[in-house]
Amino acid sequence: MKTLHRLRVALAGNPNVGKSALFNVLTGMYQHTANWPGKTVERKEGFFDIDDVHVEVIDLPGIYSLTVTSPEEEVTREFLTNGDIDVVINVVDASNLFRNLMFTVQLLELFPRVILFVNMLDVAEAKGVKIDLDKLSKKLGIPVVGGVVVTGEGIDELKQVLKDVVSGKVHFHPVYPVYGQEVEILEEYLAKYGCKYPPKFAAVKALEGDEEIIKLLKEKGISVPEPQPQAISQIRAEWLKNLLRDVFVVDDYNPEMTITDRIDMVVTHPIWGYVVFILVMFLMFYITFTFGGYFANLIDMFFGWLGDAISKYIASDLWRSFIVDAVIGGVGSVLTFTPIIFTFFLMYSILEDSGYIARAAAMMDRLMHLLGLPAKLFFPLILGMGCTVPAVMGTTALEEEERKLGVYLVGFMPCSARLAVYSAIVSAFFRGYTGALVIVSMYLIGFLAVVVGAKVLKMFGLAKDTMPLVIELPSYHIPHIRTVLYSTWIRTKEFIYKAGTLIFVSTIVIWMLVNMPFGVKPEDSYLAWLGRVIAPLFAPLGLADWRIVSTLIPSFAAKEAAIATIGVLYGGVEMLKHAITIPQILVFLVFFTLYTPCMATLGAIYSVTKRWKVVFLSVLFSFATAYIFAFMTRLIVMGV
């Protein structure tokens, strides 16, 4: 049968209410992600059929309010105003009904065609909360469906309601709070003169101090009374409490008894909480790089084997090198990252879905706040000591404003590839403790660059001041496997698609630089030529040798390539110390630590932000930072 009806549905609600799980249950594999125009906020779309109804679903970001204070809220409000949708499914957490419905009240003011899906009825029941859904539906004036997304309870009923929406059997007559005279006068006025938002919504938001709406009204020459956000919230809260009075019954609710509280006794404890945090961090790091690393190695070995196998059949040296090193090597380096990214996202999604990430952010807030960094950035920063690529991918967990800050900064943390280069170089120059000290210094410099970089980015308006911590600690629950796997898979796929091309093309370009013109000595290659061209730029840093400068270029393909390049250009890493002095190598190491991240990182930045401008700026920013830090090092170790 062909489909006859089309229904466009948006999912809206607070974070941590099972909205994504519902989206996955409804749409299955038929979904894709993109970004909202001009934003790095993720937009998920999918579809499913109910008999002859084709339903398109848009999963809106999880938010707490419809007052615009973040890009997530802006996107939601814009979409509900102009998005051409038929109905909104507002997912709420039954165990947290009051707070969730505070959002619903605002939502109804903006968009009245709302179906309320009361999720996690089982959790509420365990808490001793019983909800009279029929009464709630009558009191709010909208259809209400209860259920448990993860077990599938209530999904069929929800689909039936959607079908009834299409056949016109469902009616929406929402009930609104009475906010008082000032709102009513403004509302009447707006109804007369028109506004892109519904008059009631605009009037309420204007009095809540919403900047966009106040500006909009002022442009129209409408005078807005002094905003009183607290009074409005209070009226809304009291109205809602009143409405809920005989809607839900709390049986024998003992707040001290929940499992969540028991876990939190340890997990948010001023001492044990940090022990747990360090353990979780360690496990996450360990599993990502051993389990993920194991498969990365297998893939690496496979491409190595493939290269060897194929090379026998190619007679031409040039083509053999091109196919094996550039093409197969390029595809290989894209794919070797995927197990690590997959493993990281798998674990992060589990931790996030279970509720731990919010606790970890709360524990780390004070320290991170002192450093001027967003609390949730600690994850990517720690991960960055393993590999910058998953670290950049990990910034997707941050809110848009903070994510921007994150992608510029995580590259400064020395990754394991950089550690390999330090070890090789340091062992040629230093003995014993001195060498260890030099390596530790690089980590400290990397971290210093993160902290200073955050300040500089804010100074130049490239990132906003970090919002102080105000975060919900959701009840712990067993992660929904399907949702975890879907989001892990989608993010990994994003990386392969978005970052893959860039990594592949860069591998080929770098191969050409190193190997062309084919068959000449290393010092006659294009790489050497380019090295000589850019060498003067490095003279102020005291690095006049074009060969050491040249090593920076293949390092763009992968940082560890520096070792091989030094080997080729100097005839072995050991020979380096005959050409380069100790102060020079220190300056080089500082520059090498901080300068332009490898192409896989840039690919990851593009995959996360989907904006070339951010990629370009991050190249520029890290190069400038590296240059300044290296110059200061030069002043210290070589004098003026």
Binding site: I63, Y64, S65, T67, T69, S95, N96, F98, R99, M102, F103, K127, G180, Q181, E182, L207, E208, G209, P227, Q228, P229, Q230, A231, I232, S233, Q234, R236, A237, E238, P255, T260, D264, T268, H269, P270, I271, G273, Y274, A358, R359, A361, A362, M363, D365, R366, H369, M467, P468, L469, V470, I471, E472, L473, P474
Partner: protein, 84 residues
């Protein structure tokens, strides 16, 4: 009717100073910026019942608002005033 609570800060307890186990009512939130908007969105609204779950010199400040647990930075918590 739109005057919030109509109380000054006399006799109010600042959330940052409130001991663990303290229970009271949110009286007032200083400032009208993004952060106070966010706090209200999460349910820290004048008139609501609040309980301090954790507040020690290390670690986070955690409160319970109508059954929701919320962690707050120390700086923002000092904007919240409570009464018994």
């Amino acid at each position: 009717m739109l005057t919030p609570m109509g109380v000054g800060k006399e006799g109010l307890m600042n959330l940052e100073m409130a001991p663990e186990g303290f229970e009271g009512i949110v009286a007032y939130i200083d400032g009208g910026d993004r952060v106070s908007q966010r706090m209200m969105a999460l349910g820290i609204v004048p008139g609501t019942h609040i309980k301090v779950i954790r507040n020690s010199s290390f670690g986070p400040l955690i409160v319970d608002i109508e059954g929701t647990r919320i962690a707050l930075g120390r700086g923002v918590s000092s904007k919240v005033w409570l009464r018994k």
